[in-house]
């Protein structure tokens, strides 16, 4: 590959100026003349039958334009990425407090909200299903007629029992993980409009415009082509906008009124109705030989998906795939259950099931190391997956494997090298310091079973610049800038000459989701093909102008040059003017389908993956033994993203990921009791603030180039928030010798653990 000019450089984000100046308009900032405001009537019970819905009084209120119920859903009254089990508007039953029953469109937000109070719903409350273990019993009330077990995954390889017998150490524990909230700054919101031909456009935060289009079409019983979805820019998503949020409600409002409509959820509504990370209960038994080699791992994982499936099925599969960590384990017995309850609803969230199991397995590994008197980094090196190894599900690691590279870089970091010095100087006598390390890997793309595909377009504009189109939305992660960098290097032009179209079914080809750490890899590969086609279209024209044969044309540094006669030069602008004068245009497409693992697991979709990003993270913490408070003082984050297209972007992801994983480890939990959400906004849901961040987060990028990736890139959006959580809890153990088996490790939990250690 020729040297790159833009890829690998800290190109300033193309959306940075507008974002910092506050001029960028997010979807909830958009307004139209004659627009109505939508509000959603949510359930009053976590589990109940609906006996009657009366909207008469609401309809009579001055300023109310429409009140819609299930009777007004023209197509399928359901949505859901995997199965459409969530009603657009409930007709006979509610399954969580966020369930939508009616939809009001009014002249103002205030009127819409008042109208909600005038809608009469008669309920017959049902017993609330709150414990996933109990929910699986046949005696449990059913959340869905089909039963409460949504998905069951079971993978067995080798012989765990035999391995447990021969092992030097066996550790067995139960872990609990919280219901983390995505906490994007922009709540679920959007606007929609309809034209005379009943074409609907929806501007709404989201992560896959083309799938939103299909879900909306399905609920409206319409041809998908009549629905345009615009997802860019989205004000944060983290997986929480992968599923439908307000799109179908917006479409119903414009369809029934003919007027533009807007819906913006309040934070409380977003918290109650929106997606969360699956809380999991993980029982894990791990065996190792005297030299630290992991011999066997047995895991039983119960995941609470709440009232509806969304991506709960794939999440439990992903959790099982990642439940042995990024290590070689020959004997495994892994079982996962994804269970319906009345506890809100859980779905995709950065990490996609890896976070929960990584917390468990990385704690297990530290316990084993301690029993064997082994170094915590050494035991990870010993077991780390290498290229060609067989991973837990029995699949071969065919693609680039960077775990060892990240471990080596972590080992050489200042924090690890000087760890005893760092630990020796706590800020007060009652505070104790510790250092923890953890690793993980993160499957990129949608995995085996469904083709993961993507497309991109490149158009030569009349001014000689290029418009590139990739539909993976910009959700704040910076993919549009990376697309521009890659396109500039493929085209061989300046990054300033690239205009990026993104996240719009009207103007970009379907490139799939901005999820699964996949958009750079997919978009980049599709762009590569699109640019090849672009070059193929430009070459004959250039040849014609320069009067040279077509194969004499080469592309370099914003120029088109004759190889044989280097003073024959054209700019892209020359080509643009030439074709514009002749009424022609050059627009090319590129299509790409992901390679997949050779291994097929009968009956499962989405596992295993072929490509993984790898990461090692280290945390230095200080635990206050008087209060149980934990402070993360410093962190080191060593991701292997493949080629870092924009190193500054990788650092940004890494730092944000560390803080998100820190919140997961220490403070964050959406507490639901008897189906009722208690932590309804940011005063009680404790997100870290800038003052809680570690004083220093050092990111060391350990690139293990991926041959199939654009410029060697894989993905990094998710892995960065995963192992930091167990790195922190392992550091707590290093500091005060208590094992954290339930996160968040709140002051109460740490304090209680400290006390019971003193007692025993």
């Amino acid at each position: 590959m020729t040297k790159t000019e833009w890829v690998g450089a800290d190109v300033i984000r193309i959306d940075a100026k507008d974002k910092v100046r506050g001029v960028l308009k997010y979807m909830s900032d958009l307004s139209f003349p004659n627009m109505i405001y939508g509000a959603v009537l949510r359930s009053k019970h976590p589990h109940a039958l609906i006996k009657k819905i009366n909207t008469k009084r609401a309809k009579e209120l001055d300023g109310v334009v429409t009140v819609l119920t299930h009777e007004d859903v023209p197509g399928l009254n359901g949505f859901g990425i995997a199965i459409p089990d969530q009603p657009v508007l409930c007709s006979d039953k509610v399954r969580y407090m966020g369930d939508a029953i009616a939809l009001v469109g009014a002249e103002s937000k205030e009127i819409a909200e008042r109208a909600l109070e005038l809608i009469e719903v008669e309920y017959q409350p049902l017993p609330v299903v709150c414990d996933p273990e109990q929910a699986m019993l046949s005696s449990s009330p059913k959340v869905h007629e089909t039963g409460n077990l949504h998905n069951h995954v079971k993978i067995e390889r080798g012989n765990v029992e035999a391995a447990f017998k021969e092992a030097q150490v066996v550790v067995e524990n139960t872990y609990f993980t919280p219901r983390q909230m995505h906490a994007f700054l922009e709540p679920e919101s959007g606007v929609a409009a309809i034209d005379e031909d009943k074409n609907i456009t929806i501007w709404c935060g989201g992560q896959h415009p083309y799938r939103d289009q299909l879900q909306v079409a399905r609920a409206l019983g319409m041809n998908p082509r009549k629905i345009r979805i615009v997802n860019t820019p989205t004000g944060g998503a983290f997986g929480g906008k992968d599923e439908i949020t307000v799109q179908i409600h917006l479409a119903l409002l414009v369809l029934h009124t003919g007027r533009p409509a807007k819906i913006v959820l309040s934070r409380e509504e977003s918290v109650i109705a929106g997606m969360k990370r699956h809380p999991m209960r993980i029982h894990m038994k791990t065996a190792a030989a005297a030299d630290g080699t992991i011999l066997a791992n047995e895991a039983r994982v119960v995941s609470d998906t709440g009232a509806y499936a969304s991506l709960g099925g794939p999440v439990i599969g992903f959790a099982i795939e990642h439940s042995c960590g990024a290590y070689r384990v020959e004997n495994v017995k892994l079982e996962g259950f994804c269970v319906y309850t009345n506890n809100g609803v859980a779905g995709a969230f950065r990490g996609f099931g890896a976070n929960q199991v990584t917390f468990a397995v990385e704690t297990q590994l530290d316990m084993i190391a301690e029993k064997l008197g082994m170094d915590k980094l050494e035991i990870r090196k010993r077991n780390a997956l290498r290229s060609g190894d067989i991973a837990a599900l029995g699949h071969q690691m065919e693609a680039s494997v960077g775990l060892l590279r990240t471990l080596e870089a972590a080992e050489n970091s200042r924090l690890w090298q000087l760890k005893e010095e760092f630990k020796a100087k706590p800020s007060a006598p009652h505070k104790k310091r510790g250092i923890g390390i953890a690793c993980s890997f993160q499957g990129c793309g949608l995995g085996k079973g469904l083709p993961d595909y993507g497309a991109a377009s490149v158009e030569l504009l009349p001014n000689g610049q290029f418009a590139i189109g990739v539909s993976c939305p910009e959700i704040g992660q910076g993919n549009t800038t990376a697309f521009a960098q890659m396109a500039a290097d493929y085209i061989r032009c300046s990054v300033d000459d690239i205009v990026v179209l993104s996240g719009d079914t009207g103007h970009t080809l379907d490139s799939g989701t901005s999820t699964a750490s996949r958009s750079i890899y997919t978009g980049g590969n599709a762009l590569k093909h699109a640019v090849q086609n672009l070059h193929n279209a430009i070459s004959p024209i250039a040849a014609e102008i320069l009067c040279v044969p077509e194969d004499d044309i080469s592309f370099g540094h914003g120029k088109i040059v004759s190889k044989s006669c280097p003073d024959k030069i054209l700019s892209f602008k020359d080509i643009a003017e030439y074709i514009t004068a002749r009424g022609l245009s050059i627009k090319s497409e590129g299509h790409f389908i992901w390679p997949v693992s050779e291994t097929e697991l009968e009956g499962y979709v989405g596992i295993p993956h072929l490509l993984y990003s790898y990461i090692t993270q280290i945390a230095l913490v200080e635990v206050n033994t008087l209060t149980g408070e934990t402070e993360v003082i410093e962190a080191v984050s060593v991701p292997d993203p493949g080629k870092a297209i924009n190193p500054q972007g990788v650092e940004g992801q890494s730092e944000g990921g560390v803080v998100m994983g820190m919140g997961y480890a220490l403070t964050e939990d959406t507490i639901i009791k008897e189906g009722m959400t208690l932590t309804r906004n940011f005063s009680t849901y404790i997100l870290p603030t800038s003052l809680d961040m570690p004083c220093k987060i050092e990111t060391i990028i350990a690139e293990e180039l991926e041959p199939s990736g654009p410029f060697g890139a894989k993905g990094i959006g998710e892995a960065v928030c995963v192992p930091i959580s167990p790195a922190i809890t392992n550091a707590i153990h290093d500091a005060v010798k208590v094992w954290i088996k339930q996160i968040p490790a709140t002051p109460e939990r740490v304090y209680t653990a400290l006390k019971s250690r003193e007692v025993s």
Binding site: P429, T627, T689, D692, P747, Y751, T752
Partner: protein, 290 residues
């Protein structure tokens, strides 16, 4: 819809309005509590609420120090207090407490008057003001009255203020220059954190090294602000050592349980309240334990 709003510019004008609308008006200062509370209130159609915004009344914004008395107008913000040279000089723990409130935005809007009248058990200004034996001046068209801070509260979010009254100022006698003080707060994070526990300690030591005066006022663990007499008694007249400080701290935990009863959180809060008090006392004594 059901809300009316008025913005008087003088205390006199405000008193008139409040007098006239005493059954359906509410004072708003920085609105950092009022707005949050209003969102969860149901509007009552028959009785539209009149919000009386006092942010335009410049007469209520002052910090005075005369004849040994510090007077702080109700409209002074947490940010003002945290930056006031007078407060830093006479009662730095009060400045520390105000600096620990919310975030820069909240400190810039939220007022001392609002913090007091809102009467949250977790209000950060109250422990130091309690330790300082502060008093309040309430005014209305009917006249003015002065009450001790500790007599102002009836319970969590409940005070004796009448609907037509305005809190004009809070005032206290500056502690002896020899006295030392400390405020410590335990929140769930570094900023934007409501106190889960806090302690204000104001201590004076005489020439012989004995504690001559002590005021210990915890926050967030009692229904309303109060000094802990048994803790103070355990200190006064003693030369502070590990045992003295420990036993005084223990009293705070005991008082908390005595007043609030045993709750699910007691197992954590009691020992931590003791530990926090211990550190606050030592810090006030000049032994920095942090």
């Amino acid at each position: 819809m059901t809300l009316r709003f008025i913005r008087p510019e003088t205390v006199r004008e405000a008193m008139e309005v409040l007098h006239e609308h005493k059954d359906n008006s509410k004072i708003v200062a920085g609105a950092t509590d009022v707005m949050v509370q209003r969102r969860s209130e149901k509007p009552v159609e028959e009785k539209p609420l009149l919000l009386v915004d006092i942010t335009g009344i410049s007469e209520l914004s002052y910090v005075n120090f005369q004849n040994g008395i510090v007077r702080i107008g109700a409209m002074i913000t947490h940010r003002d207090i945290a930056r006031s040279a007078v407060i830093h000089d006479v009662a730095p723990f009060f400045a520390d407490a105000c600096l620990s409130v919310g975030s820069p935005q909240i400190r810039t809007r939220g007022t001392i008057g609002g913090n007091i009248v809102n009467a949250s058990p977790a209000a950060d200004s109250l422990p130091p003001l309690t330790a300082l034996s502060a008093r309040l001046r309430l005014i209305s068209r009917r006249g003015s009255r002065d009450v001790a801070l500790c007599d102002f509260f009836k319970g969590p979010y409940k005070t004796i203020i009448e609907p037509d009254e305005i809190l004009k100022e809070v005032y206290f006698r500056a502690p002896e220059p020899s006295s030392r003080c400390a405020f410590l707060k335990l929140g769930r994070r570094e900023s934007l954190a409501i106190a889960r526990l806090s302690v204000a300690a104001l201590i004076d030591v005489d020439d012989s090294g004995k504690i001559s005066k002590a005021a210990i006022a915890p926050g967030a663990c009692l229904p309303m602000p109060a000094r802990i007499a048994p803790a103070e008694e355990a200190l006064v007249g003693k030369i502070p050592d590990e045992e003295v400080v420990n036993s005084a701290s223990q009293e705070v935990g005991e008082e908390m349980v005595r007043v609030s009863g045993v709750r699910w959180s007691t197992e954590y809060k009691k020992p931590v309240a003791c530990a926090l008090t211990k550190r606050a006392i030592w810090k006030a004594l000049g032994v920095d334990v942090d």
